[in-house]
């Protein structure tokens, strides 16, 4: 059933694309159907999973590698799965309005569903390697979604950054997962968690560090957080879905998955504690600086991701509950906020806070939605966000009560400060966009009011988030408790309540709201202060510097190795090959080789062919023009063809003949573009050049001769030819042995070769359409115009270093 769900989603992706959904606005209902169905099925699993019966499915994939498609629906998987498909349903519905009439809508659905399937596979997977495959699937679809508006440079840049950062982390993650899997002797996640002593194994610190890299890059932790704001160039439904509600939580999810086995390690604790609290502070402080609604929300997302990492450092039931509630609350308020930003963008043509004001009057329903979501984000009772914040503070105050002052102060302080700035940021957004009367700059005007269907998904999610806490008694047992149990590794009973009395935590909550309002009131000086920070401090700057340095390094290496003209470059390659063979000859004792015994005297035909080849070669050297040189070279090639015929290899002969024909054509065409070497054309090479080239030619002749000779006389093991001859017909059912070898017995090789061929074609295509061509054309036109029609046009010229 799990595999069926994944298949449904995977199949929906191209299907929705092919249906050309932009033709009808009501298509949103259909587009939301597959994920809604999967959501409903998962809801039906809530009760059995709560009782501890997990749905498990296993399919062999590459068993020798330890790779199998193992799916396991435990509490955590179900919790994340519900968020993925539940929010996905709303996003799919919203997309129909967001991309109304846009022909690219179908392609967006394709990517959206491909992502949803990968993400669901990731959280359901019970195999480390399968999890990695799905992980990379989310990275790729995220890349394509960020670059969706590929006509904008910001989109392409942001997408590339996100891809490089997340896949670099992905590589580290793969290494870490493989190390862990080898150490545990199993790649099954449930098996790994049950392996005794895995936390104390010698390889675990290395493996964990690598896994941290993967999780932190994916979940935008410091210092990798910079890709997330850049990802906001994606269409808003993708930002709401991937870059706040689901994909960025993949790293968090992985950490939560591994939590039961490793949470007692100091490495785990301190890494997560420090990274999480710093990211949390950084994100919440940065958020208020931005006037782009999506950028503000993106930094707030970074803060929440940091908060989640911080919570995973701890080992208390408060922290588990805080983690689960925060994930749910964040998904339910941040996705609607993003969706609303998209609606504002649609309706006003901008989402820049400086140009917005008074939307509360023109879009009242949207204002209600955003206000409710903002209350949840600010943690005002009785929303789910309030509960999340209470639990966060509880888990921070716990170490304080136990006397661990440093840890407690760090966690509690970071949580308080960050919550306070978040309140300031969201109040800023709410006030500036919806409630103040006059914008800072010339205000944007309302293009067209959004329909109810456009706003419905955001409103639905917000209501769930705002009112979910009121039904906390049933929600916690049904939804939260199984997830917490998976985190803790044992069944846990939850007693979440909205009202605890006047505890220190509640008082802190009140203080946060008050101070947050103060931050909101002081937003202008704060923005000025943050904007005056030097750019060198941001990790985006560091990243860009690194990438630029890499480009410069590559450029230097390339000019160093390949900067010279073609002839010297080839000479280096050929001479080193010849030297290697000479070295091999010097090492082996020549006398011991049974040299001439096995050689026969050539026949008359062979003598004649040799003379013909020599004649062709000499003509090539002595040729005055390049065209005659090429033709003479063709004679040499044809002689080789005849050799093949004489020795009874018609296939080779045929291939050689055809290659010769096409090769000559290509040579002619290439030489047409390359500026002639004046020395060669005039036949007046300096004597030193001639001598060095003679030496090179002799070395190459020796090389070819030696290779053939060695091949002939050194028989290592049994020859494989008889095997091919015997089995060609019985296995490959063909009497042409060469062909059977190529397409059947050694088909792998051929597949590799044609892949190389195809890549070479792409490379050549790119190379030959390089900017030099139009440049050349323009230069010639210019020259012709200057000289007038009567005068001789200039001969074609091309820069070297191109071929």
């Amino acid at each position: 059933m799990l595999a069926l769900c994944l298949t449904v989603l995977f199949v929906s992706a191209p299907l929705l694309w092919l249906l050309k959904p932009h033709r009808s606005l009501s298509f949103g209902w259909w587009a939301a159907l597959p994920s809604a169905a999967v959501t409903l099925w998962q809801m039906g699993q809530l009760v059995p999973v709560g009782q501890g019966t997990f749905w498990v499915e296993r399919y062999g994939w590459a068993p020798t590698l330890g790779l199998e498609l193992a799916l396991r629906l435990d509490g955590l998987a179900l919790f994340f799965g519900l968020i993925i498909t539940g929010i996905g349903t709303c996003i799919a519905f919203y997309t129909a309005h967001y991309f109304a009439g846009d022909p690219r809508q179908g392609f967006f659905y394709l990517l959206l569903y491909a992502f949803m399937a990968s993400m669901l596979g990731l959280v359901w997977s019970d195999n480390l390697l399968a999890l990695f495959v799905f992980w990379e699937g989310t990275s790729l679809t995220s890349y394509l979604l960020i670059a969706f508006k590929s006509e904008y440079k910001a989109a392409v840049d942001g997408a590339r950054r996100a891809l490089i950062v997340t896949t670099a982390g992905g590589l580290a993650l793969l290494a870490g997962l493989v190390l862990l899997g080898l150490e545990a002797g199993t790649f099954s996640i449930s098996g790994l968690l049950a392996t005794p002593g895995i936390a104390t194994a010698a390889v675990t610190p290395i493996a964990l560090t690598l896994i941290f890299l993967g999780a932190f890059t994916k979940s935008a932790q410091f210092p990798f957080q910079f890709w997330l704001p850049g990802a906001m160039a994606a269409p808003t439904p993708a930002s709401a879905y991937l870059h706040s509600a689901t994909m960025v939580k993949a790293g968090i999810f992985l950490l939560a998955r591994l939590h039961p086995a490793f949470s007692e390690l100091p490495l785990w604790f301190w890494t997560l504690l420090l990274t999480g609290s710093f990211t949390m502070l950084l994100g919440s402080l940065s958020a208020i600086r931005y006037t782009d609604m999506k950028a503000l929300l993106a930094y707030a997302t970074v803060a929440v991701l940091g908060m989640l990492v911080l919570l995973l450092a701890f080992d208390s039931s408060y922290a588990y509950a805080a983690f689960v509630v925060t994930v749910a609350a964040h998904a339910l308020y941040k996705a609607p906020l993003f969706l609303s930003a998209g609606i504002v963008d649609h309706a006003m043509g901008t989402r820049d806070l400086r140009k917005l004001a008074g939307l509360g009057r023109s879009l009242p329903l949207l204002a209600v939605t955003v206000t409710l979501a903002a209350l949840s984000m600010a943690g005002v009772p009785p929303t789910l966000g309030y509960l999340a914040k209470e639990l966060l503070l509880e888990s921070g105050i716990k170490p304080l009560e136990q006397g661990e002052w440093l840890v407690g102060a760090l966690a509690y302080g970071a949580a308080t400060l960050s919550a306070l700035f978040m309140v300031g940021a969201i109040l800023t957004l709410l006030w500036e966009a919806f409630f103040r009367r006059h914008p800072e700059e010339e205000g944007a005007r309302l293009h067209h009011a959004p329909s109810f269907g456009f706003m419905a998904p955001a409103l639905l999610l917000t209501l769930l988030g705002a009112l979910g806490a009121l039904a906390i008694d049933s929600v916690q047992n049904l939804l939260f408790a199984p997830a917490v149990a998976a985190l803790a590794g044992e069944p846990v009973e939850l007693h979440l309540k909205l009202w605890h009395g006047f505890t220190p935590v509640f008082l802190t909550s009140l203080a946060i709201l008050g101070l947050g309002t103060a931050v909101f009131l002081a937003r202008s000086p704060l923005r000025r202060l943050l904007n005056s920070l030097p750019a060198q401090l941001s990790s985006l700057f560091v990243y860009d510097q690194l990438v630029n340095a890499l480009y410069r390094f590559a450029y230097r290496i390339t000019t160093w190795i390949q900067g010279s003209p073609l002839a010297p470059q080839i000479s280096v390659t050929l001479l080193s090959a010849a030297l290697l063979v000479a070295y091999a000859f010097a090492q082996s004792s020549l006398a011991s080789l049974p040299l001439l015994d096995s050689l026969e005297m050539p026949s008359l035909t062979e003598w004649l062919l040799c003379v013909l080849a020599l004649f062709g070669a000499l003509t090539t050297i002595r040729a005055r023009s390049r065209l005659s040189a090429i033709i003479a070279l063709g004679v040499v090639g044809l002689t080789v063809t005849l050799f093949f015929l004489v020795f009874g290899a018609p296939d080779l002969a045929l291939t050689q003949l055809l290659i010769e024909v096409l090769g000559i054509l290509l040579l002619v065409l290439v030489f047409f573009r390359v500026r002639p070497d004046p020395n060669l054309e005039s036949g007046q090479g300096t004597s030193w050049r001639t001598i060095s080239k003679l030496g090179m030619a002799a070395a190459m002749g020796f090389f070819g001769f030696a290779v053939v000779l060695i091949n002939h006389i050194s028989q290592v093991g049994e020859s494989i030819s008889p095997y091919f001859l015997e089995n060609s017909y019985s296995i490959g059912r063909g009497s042409n042995v060469v062909n059977v070898i190529l397409v059947d017995i050694r088909g792998y090789d051929t597949l590799g070769e044609i892949t190389v061929l195809a890549l070479a074609a792409l490379g050549g295509y790119a190379l030959l359409r390089s900017p030099q061509l139009p440049l050349l054309r323009r230069r010639i036109q210019l020259a012709r115009r200057q000289n007038g029609a009567a005068s001789q046009p200039t001969p074609p010229k091309t820069e070297t270093g191109h071929d």
Binding site: P650, D651, L654, T655, L658, I659, V661, L662, L665, L666, L669, V670, F672, R673, I731, G732, R733, G734, S735, N736, V738, N739, V740, L742, V743, D744, G747, Y748, T750, L751, I754, T755, L757, A758, A760, A761, L762, G764, Y765, L768, R769, L773, L776, R777, I780, R784, P793, P796, T798
Partner: protein, 150 residues
């Protein structure tokens, strides 16, 4: 426009060469020939058209097929290799045999794979030839193109 005799040669020889390519491909499993060779022959045939009609006209004729050819070829090859998977192995040949006019014809996934090879070879060779010809034509002023180079 190029010389009339070249165009005549193209008119007559190109179809024949393409037929030869198909012929070589079909007999390839038992007699000299096969996808690689057939691909080269087809590329030579197309080059003849390039020489006769110029790259623009050739691109008009083959262009829409050219870019996807590499991809199609690779896909066909991989598909042929994958078909064996159901029988228990990558590259495991699957064969069908039938009688046509007394002759036994056999078709199998190795030949399908060979078709992929042929398509990739044609795509690669023609990509290069067309690009280089375009470059050469761009470098030659049209008035001079008919005259032999000094």
């Amino acid at each position: 426009m190029t010389e009339i005799y070249l165009r005549l040669v193209d008119r007559i020889l190109t179809p024949i060469l393409l037929l030869i390519a198909i012929f070589l491909f079909l007999r390839g499993h038992d007699l000299p020939g096969g996808g690689f060779i057939a691909g080269l022959v087809a590329a030579a045939a197309i080059e003849l058209t390039i020489l006769a009609l110029g790259s623009t006209a050739t691109r008009d004729r083959y262009g829409p097929w050219l870019a996807p050819l590499l991809g199609i070829g690779l896909t066909v090859a991989v598909t042929a290799a994958l078909i064996g998977m159901a029988g228990g192995g990558f590259f495991l040949g699957r064969w069908i045999q039938f009688e046509v006019a007394g002759e036994t014809l056999k078709l199998g996934t190795p030949q399908l794979f060979d078709l992929g090879v042929m398509l990739v070879v044609v795509g690669m060779a023609v990509t290069y030839l067309l690009r280089l010809s375009e470059a050469a034509e761009a470098a030659t002023p049209s008035a001079e193109r008919q005259e032999p180079r000094p």
